[in-house]
Symmetry: C2
Subunit: 348 residues, 2 copies
């Protein structure tokens, strides 16, 4: 199968032209480039709106391997990680372009499965797949995705807007993806039953099929009290550092208030790992970390809960040189522990 036949095999018949038109698309896959109507009304987004653009790449052996992810998972997660960047700006995802660099020995069927997962995520979040590129790769699969979105003009939620005295909030638990990854790698080394009996299913799911917080981002933007927002791709501590540095203040996280998934904690106990390590430094959680006006924090929490969405008030910001600290309650009273800037770093 040649390159063009492969692309048709992977993509044709997946999304209708009218469905794509509702997302601003005037010309999708098949020409030198795609065409977008930047004035098209977007359902649920006020006019005028700005376009959001982000790009996120997954590389075999760095982000996944044959035991951690199926091809469907790779496609799903590659798009989900990008959608999360749109959520982190308070926006609605619209379109995506996909570049795959395919090992020569792989053949078209695994890639068809990758596109099955990718289109499943696209359907879940309403993303029109409008183009991309297909090349061969000498050895490893690389999936690069560009995603667009829309957000009301001038209202995008950036990292740099936090103010001293804000409440620090989180839209979901952290550390589950890292725990799921640990299980998948441990399973390979120790055999499938080594850690059976723990509730690992949802940890594996959290690693393979993350759920970007698009709805949460929209709710936070609509409140008008959210000053800064980030998605947790590189770990809670690292994302808190980004807000601290971009906004020029201190972020204090309260250990007692960090959401701790029961299955994650149980698995960490069985595996002999401090769950806090995964919660602070695990990454790939794709929940949102933000800061909002202190006096709106509880009302925001109530509003989220009313919609069945998780919402945690996990700390506060204060004036000072950029830093992130963890407030721990010990027998000897409260302890303020500085948190290192490290997260998942591709150059370490």
């Amino acid at each position: 199968m040649d390159e063009f036949a492969s692309i048709r095999h992977w993509t044709s018949g997946r999304q209708s032209e009218s469905w794509q038109r509702e997302r601003g698309v005037r010309l999708g896959i098949g020409d030198d480039a795609a065409l977008i109507d930047p004035a098209a009304p977007i359902a649920g987004v006020g006019s005028p709106y700005e376009y959001i653009m982000a790009m996120d790449t997954m590389v075999e052996t760095v982000h996944f391997n044959e035991v951690t992810m199926s091809y469907e998972d790779i496609g799903y997660k590659a798009l989900a990680a990008n959608v999360s960047d749109i959520a982190a700006m308070g926006g609605v995802p619209l379109q995506a372009l996909i570049s795959v660099s395919v090992p020569r020995q792989l053949g078209p069927e695994p890639m068809r499965r990758l596109y099955d997962g990718l289109y499943a995520c696209a359907e879940q979040y309403g993303v029109a797949i409008i183009g991309g590129d297909t090349t061969s790769s000498p050895q490893h699969l690389v999936v690069a995705v560009t995603v667009t979105g829309a957000v009301e003009a001038g209202q995008a939620l950036r990292r740099s807007g936090a103010r001293p005295g804000d409440a620090v909030v989180l839209t979901g638990p952290v550390g589950m993806s890292a725990a799921g990854l640990h299980f998948l790698l441990a399973q390979r080394e120790r055999g499938a039953d080594a850690l059976a009996g723990e509730r690992v299913g949802q940890l594996v799911q959290a690693h393979r099929r993350p759920s970007p917080s698009v709805r949460a981002g929209r709710l936070l933007l609509a409140r008008g009290t959210c000053h800064s927002l980030n998605d947790v791709s590189d770990g809670l501590a690292s994302e808190a550092w980004e807000i601290a540095e971009a906004s020029g203040l201190v972020v204090t996280l309260k250990e007692q208030q960090l959401p701790r998934s029961g299955s994650m904690a149980a698995y960490a106990g069985a595996a002999g790992i401090d769950p806090l390590e995964w919660m602070l430094y695990g990454g790939e959680d794709y929940v949102l970390l933000g800061t909002i006006e202190q006096n709106d924090a509880e009302a925001a929490q109530a509003a989220f809960h009313k919609e069945g969405l998780p919402f945690y008030i996990i700390g506060e910001t204060s004036a000072g040189d950029p830093a992130v600290e963890l407030l721990r309650s010990t027998d000897r009273g409260d302890l303020r522990q500085p948190l290192a800037k490290r997260g998942y770093n591709h150059f370490e």
Copy 2:
């Protein structure tokens, strides 16, 4: 140097905020995503305009290696190949996102050079670099680029608009990039002086630093007589096939009228290669192949020449099942030779 420090080292101070604003950018590198004003006036583009989006990836060992390209060349060409896709729609390039997957042993300095080349191309074509992603790679360098552009709404030049009786036109010579690549690979095998004396400098330049035909695409669009357009990335024959299939007609290329670069022909002679092979199947020329109304062809040519731009009328289209043929003049009269669909195919 960590990931964020590397990105700053490669990108900061390269393009001013005001320069980026003129290209619609409201927020560039540094947050989860970039922000674009889709209503911003774009110099030289009529309103209302549509957005153009394309993505193109270069992979070490597939598209380049250590003898064919310097790091500066890799960066330059990765963006140039993308800009060519905007030119092929008749548009003006605006913004780009860059994803680099960097072998762990490489270190930041070669990447700095890659970004030197990339920003040189960005300056040449007025492209704002607004974001991207940086990951590590187990072995090979991968550079994926997404580019945006603008074109007057409803006027983009597609592959599918050719009509029987059109003139087939080309905005520059073909086969030079393939000849340059042949020289660079032969040089490695036979030593630096093996093919000295030939004018290989411009062939090497054509391979390493292609010049996308943005101005030519704009001129063709403005005439209102151009029915279809493609950029020559995979070879003249392959691109002609794309127009033939998308438009449902026969494309006839006239051998006598194909532009033949003197340095390419001289080098082909010295290397014992039929130059036609490179001209038809070489690829990576990044000139434009299109069809225009027959009665405007000569006027278009005169207009191009007046601007100092090359323009070749190389054939015509006719009704029939999609096909591409080469009209050759031989001792026994004219010969119509069907051209195979092959071009550079990443799955062969």
